[in-house]
Amino acid sequence: MSDDPMRSAPATDDLTGARGGTDDEGSVTTERLSEYLDDGRQPYDPLIEDDPEARAQLAALARLRRMTAGLLADDAAAEPTPDPSWFDGIMSRVRLESRSGREIPLLSADQRSSLHITEGAVRSLIREAGDSVPGVVVVSCGIVGDVTVPGSVVSVDVQVSALYGAPVPELAETVKAAVAALVAQQTELVVEAVDVTVRDVHLLDDDEAEAPR
């Protein structure tokens, strides 16, 4: 969260003290010191650096900031595991708002009824097919073309992350074959091309865990 652009934005308010960076007695304000800290003590400000009192307060602010960085992670580590029913409550509300996308017609033997599969369900199949290839995690996928017209020719776009060290061309070919096979088997889509892009490379789970669980 340190990449917040506002951190380095210049002060734009109308506090006289803040604008000059000093209060009525000529001491550097805490706000000016905080901004200076945000900017990595650049550009060098002799008004702060040559004033022992300001430097001491700057050090205190820096220490406070270092501690703050650990505060929430520390709180989070102490959080009890959520009640499963509470968590399920969230997920069932999420499922009520599923993103099903376009409706893809299916051939029906019966003239009076119509059958559809949702685009969301097909995307799910594509993800499943791609994920089934060892060393691959699907990142994004889509169906390009007018799927709402029966029999129209479409292409499938799959973007994946490959395990670090895995042979990328082989992986891409395997993903392509797996996706084409599953889509052909489970839908009536006429797929003319499966385009696979390896858009990033990932490490094994253990190396990647940067966020607290």
Partner: protein, 185 residues
């Protein structure tokens, strides 16, 4: 047999969830639930309110994921939604709330949680205790800025005040906290 997504990168999970993958969303939520709950608890000073806030925020996160421009930044973006929902709740509880109300010193954080008071043997505990002693308005503004990394403009909007007032509250909070943390050099 679906693959285990619990180790997938945030950006991967966010992109998949934006495209409708509920399992990816669940993995993303489980990963950050502790932080979201901790942040909501800090903002509302109530564990029960925090649970409500996180639940509401989670549904909003799911709904708004397709509009997230930078999937790598999903965690910070989720935290901003948590603070938005926290202040929706705070506002709904105190319809007449203004800056003066927020200035009333609140010890609720300290009273809620005896552990938090007892924990002042260490520096982190001292910081917690000092935060709990801050007036509620200062504590909220400080938390939004220093913990949530939110902009002055966003903080002003959340708390229904102006960036100038936000700067003032923030400066006072920082002064008090650095003074109280003197002993923990």
């Amino acid at each position: 047999m679906p693959i285990d997504l619990s180790g997938a990168a945030d950006a991967t999970l966010a992109t998949r969830a934006a495209e409708g993958d509920e399992r990816a969303f669940e993995a993303l939520l489980r990963r950050h639930l502790g932080l979201m709950t901790a942040y909501a608890t800090r903002l509302t000073s109530s564990r029960a309110d925090a649970a409500d806030v996180v639940q509401e925020a989670s549904v909003v996160i799911w709904r708004e994921l397709p509009s997230l421009q930078v999937p790598e930044a999903v965690r910070g973006w989720m935290m901003k939604i948590v603070s938005r929902k926290a202040f929706d709740l705070i506002r709904s509880r105190r319809p007449t709330s203004d800056v003066d109300d927020l200035e009333v010193p609140s010890e609720s954080g300290a009273h809620d949680d005896p552990e938090r008071v007892a924990a002042s043997q260490d520096a982190m505990g001292a910081l917690r205790a000092a935060l709990a002693r801050l007036p509620a308005g200062q504590r909220q503004v400080w938390t939004l800025r220093e913990v949530g990394g939110e902009s002055y403009a966003d903080i002003a909007e959340r708390t229904g005040t102006t960036p100038t007032v936000v700067r003032g509250l923030l400066a006072r909070a920082r002064e008090t906290l650095t003074r109280e943390m003197e002993a923990w050099r």
